[in-house]
């Protein structure tokens, strides 16, 4: 089947998509956007988090056909050209990135959290990120990164 949608503000078309493919597969393997990750492909880890019409979703759980005519934003679309988004900057600065496989999903999840709750308390951060697994960091520096990003966004 054919999928037409808008990804990171650009009209994209994928042809010959098999009906069983997920949005994650189409993004990664057909549209050249491997930023959303494939740690489980069954909705358990959050590494594939993208925006679908402004809502964060696990792209691995979205059948590709459901993205037809809709608006998708991936981690690749958050920065402004070469400029990192403040959330991305905070992850690098805080040491919240080790292997980095969880990072794209977390960056999108934190981006969404701060859009809704600009100054989240620790409990709110933990609750919001409970669906995003990280195996490397023990989360401490991820929390630091969120606080850091929140502080900056608060200022600006």
């Amino acid at each position: 089947m054919r999928i037409d949608c808008v990804v990171n503000g650009v009209f994209r078309r994928a042809d010959d998509v098999w009906a069983g493919e997920s949005l994650l597969h189409v993004l990664r393997e057909r549209l050249g956007l491997p930023g959303a990750k494939n740690a489980c492909e069954q909705g358990e880890c959050g590494s594939c988090t993208v925006y679908l019409d402004g809502e964060p979703v696990c792209a691995c759980l979205v059948p590709a056909g459901q993205a037809r005519g809709r608006d998708v934003v991936t981690v690749e679309g958050l920065g402004d050209g070469d400029e990192l988004h403040p959330v991305q900057r905070a992850f690098v600065a805080a040491g919240a990135v080790q292997c980095g496989f969880c990072t794209p999903g977390l960056v999108v999840a934190v981006h969404d959290l701060l859009a809704r709750t600009p100054s989240p308390a620790d409990g709110e951060i933990r609750e919001a990120l409970a669906g995003n697994l990280c195996r490397c960091t023990g989360y401490e520096k991820i929390l630091t990164a969120v606080r850091l990003a929140a502080g900056r966004e608060h200022e600006s």
Binding site: G35, E76, D82, P104
Partner: protein, 817 residues
């Protein structure tokens, strides 16, 4: 960034603690936006990297000369790419005309294969190849230490999930569906799944005995216990994956996530029947490792399919497949008897440790040796009798996982130390301090511990930290969590301690080396160092560390770290906490060889090649700093711009740590290890005894790292390793029933989430090891080792339940299991 007093090494997020006492501290057990501890932690602007290709590591904008060398925490060169989603992990690779591979695996833990019929699979449109063991042109068996694991099953299968055939097709789903159409006729056998039965049946992989002192020693106080450790999984997030591309010369290029490129190369080449130089590996982005990428997974399969089809082949495991696609932590049964005087001085330790190695050998021999040689922990024990056994069963193969061998033993000996403390009426920390190993102490193997061994100090550091706040008021802070099942008044709190020991680098006489190539040249008129090694960056920050060392040694700002590949000599594995020691040591040695060549050039001679250049001009000679060769007074003898005008200087060094010896096969005596590393933990837990739910409130770590080459990465390793120890204590276990993993998903195999991991305070000691590069000590494994027993000790303290098994399940606490 926070400033540092002279001589005070530390990361930008260290909270200084008044007069320098040799310890730097991170976190305080409480955190939050309003906490002044966080306010001083980071200046985000200082960390803003410019986007760069992954191999380039340059000085940060406007940074002072030398500011990005060792002891600092420069921005990781792969950080910006990773946060943008542009870092190429092994599952992200893509090639024109690429096919997808899929694997057919055994549904039985043990069976004879009568026949395999691939006809129906080959008939599926879009399928390009279906291969079985008959199609393996070279060695049909591989293995890290013993080649006993079939590339594809040969006449039998010995564990559930063993690869039997592989398929290449033009779509991953086509490949999977075709694989499902392969007809295998199995004669199912009764699997051996009990390691005791396996041992009795002679399925021994290795027995390591340790004998020290009087085997019949008697003591006034004796405690006996039996402990069990479940099968833990590394559960890295990036699945096994890679891309094999056939080459015009008949060879193959393999882009893969691995821990040891050259060990893969050796095994893949043997299986393909090709000389090593025709099997060229490059490291693709690695989504975590923790030991699980030390053995082969899809490497040979993808290469076989690529060579057969003449097209690039990509293989990516799904999560369920990943759970059978790599080795796990050995489950263990540990019996301990500790004898002590009435005032708590250890007289003897006797132990029997049984480790289930599963179907194939993998690294079981080394795991057994670690469990045996580290089996009494970091304590002075005059009389020791330890027997550790590893056996073959039809369970999933077990091998390397962070802290291997030492993790299992530590749960046993630390549980015993708590019981002994109770038996003699001593505080658990006091008992440990009384028996603590120290510099110059003797291990049960007879090896004398060289260099600092601050076991007592580490325990005191965690003990003396302020206690965490009382039982939390918010739901997420209670054992029942967001499910709102716990009333705060029913919560009981406990505190527990543990300390552990780990060997760093490869042991027992293994020829352990790392290779580094360093080239210094003018690029755009600026002196630039190019560092090339085959060392696997698996997330730990090794690429950053290599560049830091080059800056410090060569006195240059611009350093480029090349992609790791097999075009340069082996770096050994990113395991055993060894890579900063070994590849760091090799990069330092190669830099010093470059310096020696520059000195020769300065003197008008020719720069000579060297293969052992490490340390030749260590003392007294000219130094490289600030872009010039300088004498001891700092006067410029020659600038790099002038010296390099005649052309680049390049040196390649193969660097070794001091030799080790094998263990005597009867007594277990011998200087088997290079370096010991220590960490201690204090865990504070809240327990809901009615529901058997546990929340870890805080876990504090103290660790001696010798020298923190990159303080931010050191803390990252300590916190990440501690979280994996928490996982083993409370939730992580592969449930293997009759040889079948019952929970191969992240829904059923639980790893800690951000709601499970508490604030993790860290005290870092830097007591230099005189034998190691810069005095550093391996960092990655120690925090995983003692975290588990500390948490279990805290639960015992809270509940009084004599827990003897990890992970602790709710039914162990409610008495319903």
């Amino acid at each position: 960034m926070a400033g540092w007093g002279p001589g005070v090494p530390g990361p930008e997020d260290v909270v200084s603690s008044g007069p320098w006492d040799g310890v730097w501290r991170v976190g305080g057990g409480v955190g939050g936006p309003g906490n002044p501890l966080w306010a001083v932690r980071l200046d985000p602007d200082a960390g803003h990297p410019a986007p760069r290709p992954p191999v380039v590591e340059a000085g940060a904008d406007g940074s002072a000369p030398g500011s990005q060398g060792i002891g600092t925490s420069p921005v990781r060169p792969d950080g910006a790419l990773k946060v943008r989603g542009e870092f190429a992990f092994s599952s992200d690779l893509w090639a024109d005309d690429m096919l997808w591979g899929a694997t057919l695996r055994s549904p039985h833990p043990s069976a004879t294969i009568r026949s395999v019929d691939v006809t129906a699979a080959l008939a599926v449109p879009g399928v390009y190849a279906v291969l079985t063991s008959a199609d393996v042109p070279g060695d049909r068996y591989y293995g890290l230490e013993v080649a006993d694991q079939p590339v594809l099953a040969v006449d039998e299968v010995c564990y559930r999930g063993e690869p039997v055939a592989v398929v290449a097709a033009d779509h991953p789903e086509t490949a999977r569906r075709a694989a499902a159409r392969i007809v295998v006729d199995y004669a199912v056998r009764e699997p051996v799944t009990d390691p005791e039965v396996a041992l009795a049946a002679g399925r021994l992989v290795r027995h390591v005995p340790i004998r020290k002192g009087d085997p019949a020693a008697a003591a006034e106080v004796v405690v006996v216990g039996e402990y069990r450790v479940g099968m833990q999984d590394q559960a890295f997030l990036g699945p096994e994956s890679g891309l094999a591309v056939p080459a015009e010369d008949g060879g193959v290029e393999l882009y893969v996530a691995t821990q040891w490129l050259h060990a893969d190369q050796r095994q893949v080449a043997a299986a393909l029947g090709l000389p090593a130089e025709l099997v060229r590996l490059s490291l693709a982005g690695v989504g975590g490792a923790f030991g699980a990428r030390e053995d082969l997974s899809m490497q040979v399969h993808a290469c076989l399919l690529a060579l057969r089809t003449g097209r690039p082949v990509k293989m990516v495991y799904g999560r369920e497949e990943s759970f059978v696609g790599h080795v796990h932590r050995h489950p263990a049964v540990l019996r301990y008897e500790h004898g002590a005087t009435r005032d708590g001085e250890l007289v003897y330790v006797r132990a029997r440790i049984l480790l289930d190695g599963g179907a194939y050998t993998s690294t079981t021999p080394a795991v057994v040796a670690n469990a045996a040689s580290l089996g009494v922990g970091p304590y002075r024990v005059p009389n020791v009798t330890v027997d550790a056994y590893g056996v073959h069963t039809n369970n999933p193969p077990c091998g390397a996982m962070r802290g291997f061998g030492a993790v299992q033993a530590c749960f046993g000996y630390e549980s015993q130390m708590d019981r002994l403390a109770e038996a003699v009426g001593l505080d658990p920390v006091e008992l440990r301090v009384r028996n603590a190993l120290a510099e110059g102490g003797t291990m049960p193997t007879g090896q004398v511990v060289r260099g600092p061994a601050p076991v007592a100090r580490l325990l005191e550091l965690v003990r003396d930290r302020p206690a965490p706040p009382p039982v939390g008021a918010e739901l997420w802070q209670l054992p029942g969590g967001m499910a709102n099942t716990t009333a705060p008044e029913q919560v009981v709190r406990g505190v527990g301690y543990a300390v552990g020991i780990k060997n760093v680098c490869f042991s027992e006489g293994f020829d352990d080396y790392a290779t580094a190539r360093v080239r210094l040249e003018l690029i755009g008129g600026e002196p630039t160092a190019l560092v090339h090694t085959a060392a696997a960056e698996v997330g730990q920050g090794l690429v950053t560390v290599q560049a830091q060392i080059a800056r410090t040694e060569l006195g240059v700002e611009r350093v480029v770290v090349a992609t790791a590949d097999t075009a340069v000599g082996s770096a050994g594995s990113s395991s055993a906490s060894r890579q900063t020691y070994m590849t760091g040591g090799a990069v330092r040695a190669a830099c010093r060889a470059v310096r020696a060549a520059l000195i020769t050039r300065l003197a008008g001679g020719r720069a000579g090649a060297t293969d052992d250049g490490g340390g030749r001009v260590d003392e007294g000679g000219p130094e490289l700093a600030g872009g010039a060769l300088r004498d001891a007074a700092g006067r410029v003898l020659g600038t790099l711009v002038d010296l390099l005008a005649a052309g680049p200087v390049e040196e390649t060094v193969r660097w070794r740590h001091r030799p080790t010896r094998s263990l005597d096969p009867v007594t277990g005596q011998g200087d088997a290890h290079v370096q010991y590393a220590f960490a201690a933990h204090r865990a504070t837990v809240d327990v809901d005894p009615e529901l058997g739910l546990v929340r870890v409130v805080e876990i504090a770590t103290a660790q001696d790292v010798g020298r923190a080459i990159n303080p931010q990465a050191v803390v990252g390793q300590i916190q990440g390793g501690t979280a994996q120890g928490l996982g083993l204590a409370l939730m992580e276990e592969l449930q293997v029933v009759d040889g079948v993993i019952r929970n191969p998903s992240f829904t059923d195999y639980l790893i800690p989430t951000v709601l499970d991991v508490p604030p993790m305070a860290v005290d870092v000691l830097e007591l230099a090891d005189p034998d190691a590069p810069y005095g550093l000590r391996g960092v990655g494994e120690p925090p995983t080792i003692s975290a588990t027993p500390a948490i279990v000790a805290a639960i015992r303290a809270a509940t009084g339940v004599p827990l003897a098994r990890v992970p602790v399940r709710p039914e162990h606490l409610t008495g319903t299991g």
